[in-house]
Symmetry: C2
Amino acid sequence: MEYSRNDLLSLRNFYRDQLLNNTIPFWFPRSVDTEFGGFLLMRDADGSLLDDDKAVWIQGRATWLLSTLFNTVERRTEWLQWSKNGLDFLDRYCFDSDGQMFFHVTRDGKPIRKRRYFFSETFYVIASAAYGKASGDQRAVSSSQKVFTDCIAYATGQKKLQPKFTSTRPSKGIGVPMIMINTAQELRRSAGDPRCDDLIDRWIREIERDFVKDDIRCVMEQVSPDGSIIDHIDGRTLNPGHAIEGAWFILQEAQYRNNDKHLVELGCRMLDYMWERGWDAEQGGIFYFRDVYGKPVQEYWQDMKFWWPHNETIIATLLAYLMTGDQKYARWHQMVHEYAYQRFHDKVHGEWFGYLHRDGSVAQTAKGNLFKGPFHLPRQEFYCWMMLDTHLKKNSE
Amino acid sequence: MEYSRNDLLSLRNFYRDQLLNNTIPFWFPRSVDTEFGGFLLMRDADGSLLDDDKAVWIQGRATWLLSTLFNTVERRTEWLQWSKNGLDFLDRYCFDSDGQMFFHVTRDGKPIRKRRYFFSETFYVIASAAYGKASGDQRAVSSSQKVFTDCIAYATGQKKLQPKFTSTRPSKGIGVPMIMINTAQELRRSAGDPRCDDLIDRWIREIERDFVKDDIRCVMEQVSPDGSIIDHIDGRTLNPGHAIEGAWFILQEAQYRNNDKHLVELGCRMLDYMWERGWDAEQGGIFYFRDVYGKPVQEYWQDMKFWWPHNETIIATLLAYLMTGDQKYARWHQMVHEYAYQRFHDKVHGEWFGYLHRDGSVAQTAKGNLFKGPFHLPRQEFYCWMMLDTHLKKNSE
């Protein structure tokens, strides 16, 4: 199938309207914590507060979102103010004395938990960079670059985090190069940083060399340091939505590099492989986990449908379609878009449910918790809106 | 409803036959690793091997099971041999140089992961004690008592394990007093240990004082050190099958103490509260997690039906019925027994599936993995068989 110009126009309007009239108003202003700073984001379906704790990832992501809207959609003062409210909370409370960030803090910023990875840091980088651009505050920009330097050190192993596993069976995940590509892309967009292009190159090469397996048409979630498949339960576990997110980070990089042919082909290849493995042909939606050889996955909830793989797949399929014109991607985009807005979108209170059973019924009603907040959905709606807008303007009659 | 003598006789025969002709033959002899010692237990529905790694909990539990069968059912040489094969592997490979045990090792005993709690140790205690009784090997008995001493030190906080959380919001779980009660009961049965009675008393008092909430008819999974409810997502999360397991540990203690009235009443109260909260009145089976105030649980798979809460509930309801004669418990026992043997039991290859969707369909086919192995199901079949046998003999005409 093809999308007509009219189809694309109505998709653009749909994403814009959902973002501005449905998703953002679910979260703001009610989540802005004017007493302690930051945001109160752990909310039930109807928006009532489930917990006043603060998840550091989500504080960073919400801060990034608000500044990004300010930088691109409209210079609304409240977006900038709320974003500052988020960044101040992160700066004041979310760093430990060793420079590492916490994962989970109380409403008033007392630490509950620190974890053995550095995703809080990567979300801080994009938040602080976007806020720096929005406000012109150079301290925010430098702080973003400084924490990015730490992230590079963690990612390359120069700075060691406490390991969860012994050294008996070394492995590496696709999550690190992926998050670093996107962090560098965001930092480059907001603040510029001369390190970004080379680093992005290196992480894309690592993904292509070690994680993309053409012989079995698969993107691995985890491999040995030399890229070989680890034939144990954990090593065999695939996360299709995650690999598809990686695919659009690479397509986005292709776009930045004047539609670099090799990167377009690589991103599409990753999307193809993981659509084949992730799409539930029987009941619709993207499976959470699969085993590379079709064996049972350790995680018993592996066939659930989570919101965010659908956000990532909506972006990836639309971007692939607009970049290649391949009709298959329009078909896939329509399938995942329709599934997601029918099943995840809460017609009563707005925003999306996070967790469906395999059959598409709602398993858990929270809109926000330690892992879900205003990020994947608004980013998708924002990103698809912008991408369609640019495309339509470039191809206007 | 009531169970007639004939009902009880046929239940006894059913559990015995399932154990000896269905469950045990699924695992043994095929899982005995004659090359490296220990057991190869990570198996798919048909018994094929999914992974040759070894989960230390399950190595200990299988060792315990085989020696317990030898001690009670029949002195079959192979059961004792296989149990020795398990204990030797534990002794040789599963202790770190600091005395703490690993959680997950390779087939040949190289450590993969160590965790920040001490359940590997508690399963070692019951394995080593049961084997000591079966074989008369006094070293096994002393080793069991020595590791039990470590467990007491961890449980009381004398020996510190590395914390997962900061000290901002201290909490304690029901898991520690529960596992310690059962570990002490098993150690007392197999080897005797003068410390057990007092310790069991203390842990039961702690559960009653801090975790059992009569005003809201609930057994909490986690509370603050003073027993108050922590009104955050994690603190509100209940695990009904786990609390019901605790209920039967206490009923078993009541039985040991000549049907101590207070303990009978406490065990039944815990069972009542958590049956009310855990039984899925719409679709049958025991929910995995619930929120104490009916809010969404962080764990999105909270409404799945896992095998082991059903094993624990089958034991608890039958034991409560035989101890009190209350017809409600016979009704509950029949409900959970029928649900479980219809839905979890694999009619083709034997043993049980571990993980059902809320609607009772199979979500994941593995019979064994890092957390499932020959323990909850064979323990339930063994325990119910023995309890019915004793009851029928005592009440024979």
